[in-house]
């Protein structure tokens, strides 16, 4: 009996490690995707950045604008993730007749975490944008 429970315990902890690793890799890949999109967005909107600076945006204003956009992007991603996660769990639970336990805290934490991913991966593109020179931006074709 003790042996069985030990085996179940080690299998379940292995599953946890495996799933956490998969989740971490997904977050990293997703985050790099966000960083890429933000870098493209900064380049495409160079003239807009120049104009905003010309009418009074400080480097900090530009930084905040792009970080906010990155957070928006990542939390929308987080929302979609939560929806998929919850429905996926319900479907699997129904098929396998497993009891499904979804805590509010797990949803809140994953949501906050996606916002954090937005800040982390959006920071570098936003910093690049904020360091641009107004006149170079306005001349950019």
């Amino acid at each position: 009996m003790a042996e069985i429970s030990q085996t179940i315990g080690s299998v379940s902890s292995m599953m946890t490690i495996l799933l956490t690793t998969v989740a971490a890799i997904s977050l990293l890949v997703g985050g790099i995707g966000i960083m890429n999109i933000m870098l493209v967005s900064v380049t495409e909107r160079t003239r807009e950045i120049g104009l905003r600076m010309a009418i009074g945006a400080t480097p900090a204003d530009i930084l905040m604008q792009f970080i906010a956009e990155s957070i928006l992007l990542s939390t929308v991603g987080g929302l979609i993730g939560v929806i998929f996660g919850v429905t996926g769990a319900e479907i699997v639970g129904n098929i396998q007749h497993w009891p499904i336990l979804i805590t509010t805290s797990s949803i809140v934490v994953s949501f906050l975490f996606s916002a954090l991913v937005g800040v982390f991966f959006g920071f570098y593109p936003a910093l690049r944008a904020s360091r641009l020179n107004p006149i170079d931006c306005l001349r950019y074709e």
Binding site: G50, A54, I55, G56, A57, T58, I135
Partner: protein
């Protein structure tokens, strides 16, 4: 004096070649003037205007704007100056696409900490009426003609009530009729007390200004009129 620059130099290094876009420019502009900066292509007009407009910084030289020493200011201090004291009108309008004329005009106030948000809409509407676009406030730039877009840009430049307006070839992308309309608007604004500094290479446009400055090879060859408060010799 509104503007007082002394010995401005701006040099660019491309590869081994060093070019002096500005080569020792001293100049004063008083409150209420309407100045045209003229000169051949590549003479340094835009470089001068961009430095006067605090969009660019000189390699050396000093700049007093409205009694404040601008040279040596940080990037965010310069941004505040541009927000409160300077208005810009560009050749290519630079309006935000897919954004209404009204929102384009409101934009500068979002960088004006303490601007009463309740007044934002009313003031932008009033300015758009002032430039003759009262019936087009919800149009996006794509739904406006070039001349109308430039008038939106002028309303935007006036939003934070700056004492001076800078314009780099404001009629460069416009036909003759729209150009005349814009210059009439500038003349009216100037009569209301706003200082205007405008770059152009067209004599017909420069004629609207009360004073012409000619730049050649990074030097002012005509119309500099330099009077320094701390340089008594200049008055003799």
């Amino acid at each position: 004096m509104l503007i007082e620059v002394k010995d401005l130099v701006k040099s660019y290094k491309v590869g081994d070649m060093e070019t002096h876009a500005l080569d020792g420019v001293s100049l004063t502009i008083d409150y209420g003037e309407f100045v045209a900066i003229m000169g051949a292509s590549g003479s340094g007009k835009s470089t001068l205007l961009n430095i006067l407009g605090c969009l660019d910084v000189p390699t050396s030289g000093s700049y007093l704007l409205d009694g404040v020493q601008v040279s040596g200011m940080s990037r965010s201090e310069l941004a505040h100056i541009r927000n409160r004291k300077l208005g810009f009108v560009f050749q290519s309008f630079n309006l935000l696409a897919r954004t209404s004329a009204l929102e384009n005009v409101e934009l500068p106030t979002f960088y004006y900490k303490g601007f009463p948000s309740g007044e934002r809409r009313a003031r932008a509407t009033k300015l758009l009426e002032r430039v003759g676009l009262g019936s087009r406030i919800m149009n996006t730039p794509g739904q406006l003609s070039g001349g109308q877009q430039q008038r939106v840009a002028i309303a935007r430049a006036l939003m934070c009530s700056p004492p001076v307006l800078f314009a780099d070839e404001p009629t460069g992308n416009l036909d003759t009729k729209s150009s005349v309309d814009i210059m009439k608007l500038f003349t009216e604004l100037n009569e209301e007390g706003i200082t205007i500094v405008m770059v152009t290479h067209e004599n017909d446009i420069a004629r609207y200004a009360k004073r012409q400055i000619v730049v050649r090879d990074g030097k002012i060859i005509h119309g500099a009129r330099f009077e320094s408060a701390d340089d008594p010799e200049a008055h003799t």
